[in-house]
Amino acid sequence: MTTPVLSIRNLSVEIPTRQGIVKPVDGVSYDVGKGEILGVVGESGAGKSMAGNAVIGLLNAPAHISGGEIWLNGRRIDPLKGEDMRRLRGKEIGMIFQDPLTSLNPLLTIGDQLTETMLTHLPISRKEARERAIAALEEVGIPGAAERIDSYPHEFSGGMRQRVVIALALCAEPSLVIADEPTTALDVSVQAQIISLLKRLCHERGTAVMLITHDMGVIAEAADRVAVMYAGRLAELGTVRDVLTVPQHPYTHGLMASTPLASQGRKRLHQIPGAMPRLHHMPDGCAFHPRCPHARDKCRAAPLPPVANERAACWFPMLPEEVQ
């Protein structure tokens, strides 16, 4: 078996607060392989962004990695600091955020930003970099790339800006791209364009993509495998088809069932009672047990449920016949 591009083992992130230490990410493990899109899905506050930021060393103090390992192409990167980490970012890991404006410098033309990034990371000349920049913009579908390369970010629409960000994230040919809610701020038609672009680039170049989103629909369309997060922990991990058609974790099942679907008609939506626990009031045992219809005493006891059968972190995984 080939080594995965990104491999996270037992990753934990801690934040000391006035009410005590909280763990927004708690013992999370997953891999992303070459040319694969791993969807990381969960409700807001589940720790998806925190886990992504931990990989690129962008945790804001006082949050810090408190345990576990992060491996990139067989090299351990979680102990890296300062300059080493900065070089890794951009060169080996590209980033795409929800708001394209946060990743673009409003004072530089997009051409300058692209060529700067390439010159820092690739052994090429300025002229070559500019040619490659135009090619990169064409590749992400910016019409008239040669003329628009000298425009400033604010001269583009939201969808076009996100394309520029994708070009920027990919221009140094990284082996991993972390896309944190890349389409959440966009309209459905633009979202469809951006997703299809991401999929195409990733499969053509063999880039590994960690696609963070709260939208199951996006996961279904784009991802190869999916990691479902709940309250900082991994709830379920598997191929998209398996997890979405026969979910084993009651949380995944509840999440799927509460999405309005055409096939359900207009009957009442399935509800997961309650809300995700606050980090300061994390329940013992399985974090989902207060909302879980199948919870028993074993779930409430202190030790966390294992990721049994490599799929769901649940003592009593749901059987296919329980999932209508």
Partner: protein, 321 residues
């Protein structure tokens, strides 16, 4: 059944010119943005009418004109036979207005952080000098919260709970019509399900009429009795959900439906839609959709299509069939 709300020729133009001095110095003309252009629709009593469209299509502007937060530039809004634009009797207008309430998208910005939940909920009644004893507690229980939550402040609640508080406030004055502007867009799916179920229950319980504004097609399909699709401030198609989702007639509706992510579409490879929404300050001639439309012809570039009946739908397209 009768139309509770009738909207005719509703139009809203915003003056988006730069300040006077800049215009003179830079030699620019005044600029106008037509956010809503000649929109007609009717909402039957005790039904849910949904307006869908992408951002900037004028959904919120229509909602705000309905509740009186904005004045139309042209056109009429008629509620229970009272024309809110031309009616001279201020009391009748006030009476109609108090029958309309609104729920907003952002559950964080729509509650005053310095007010207790009790005061927030009863404000619509208290402002009119009505009796508010125990009202907040009763409404809180109706929307699935606790009577004891009345003394708390908004920051003590999650997004979904805040949206319930907003719903409680909108119910306080016993309205007949509630305009819901993206009520669940800021919520997670599991919480969205709770809020949508609550909205359905309240509709049955109080005989409410909803104008549901959203960009989320799954929500529309689940909730609406009738759907209007907006593009660049114009109504392009109107139908009931079955018809609209099974046989969309307008090319824009077809594009929108195919672009929406689907949970059963593993690795679906469909060509994504082309182009982007044009600048509303300088909209395309004729049919506003023609630059992106796969079947557009010359007539589309010249004439703006009128709404016409086509099978069970109404479509504003020259070529749809």
């Amino acid at each position: 059944m009768s139309a509770y709300v009738t909207v005719r020729g509703l139009t809203r133009v915003f003056d988006v010119s730069k300040p006077w001095l800049n215009r003179v110095l830079e030699g620019r003309k005044k600029a106008f943005l037509t956010a809503v252009s000649d929109v007609d629709f009717e909402i039957e009593e005790r039904t849910t009418y949904a307006l869908v469209g992408e951002s900037g299509s004028g959904k919120s502007t229509i909602g705000k004109m309905l509740v009186g937060l904005l004045n139309p530039s042209e056109g009429n809004v008629e509620v229970e036979g009272v024309n809110l634009m031309t009616e001279a009797d201020a009391d009748r207008i006030a009476a109609s207005r108090s029958n309309i309430q609104m729920i907003f998208q952002d559950p964080y910005a729509s509650l005053n952080p310095r007010w207790r939940v009790r005061d927030i909920i009863v404000e619509p009644v208290a402002a009119q000098g009505g009796k508010t004893e125990g009202l907040a507690e009763k409404l809180l229980e109706q929307v699935g919260l606790h009577a004891s939550d009345a003394g708390k402040f908004p920051h003590e609640f999650s997004g979904g709970q805040r949206q319930r508080i907003c719903i409680a406030r909108s119910l306080a004055s016993e309205p007949r019509l509630i305009v819901c502007d993206e009520p669940t867009s800021a919520l997670d799916v599991s919480v969205q399900a709770q809020v949508l179920n609550l909205m359905s229950d309240l509709k049955d319980e109080f005989g409410l009429t909803y104008l549901l504004i959203t960009h989320d097609l799954t929500v529309v399909r689940h909730m609406a009795d009738r759907i209007g699709v907006l593009y660049l401030g114009r109504l392009v198609e109107e139908a009931d959900p079955e018809t609209l989702f099974n046989t969309p007639k307008h090319p824009y509706t077809q594009m929108l439906l195919s672009a929406a992510p689907r949970m059963d579409a593993f690795g679906r490879e469909v060509p994504p839609p082309q182009g982007e929404i044009p600048d509303p300050i300088d909209p395309p001639s004729g049919c506003a959709f023609h630059p992106r439309c796969p079947i557009a012809t010359d007539v589309c570039r010249k004439d703006r299509p009128a709404m016409r009946a086509l099978a069970a739908s109404k479509v504003a397209c020259h070529l749809a069939e």
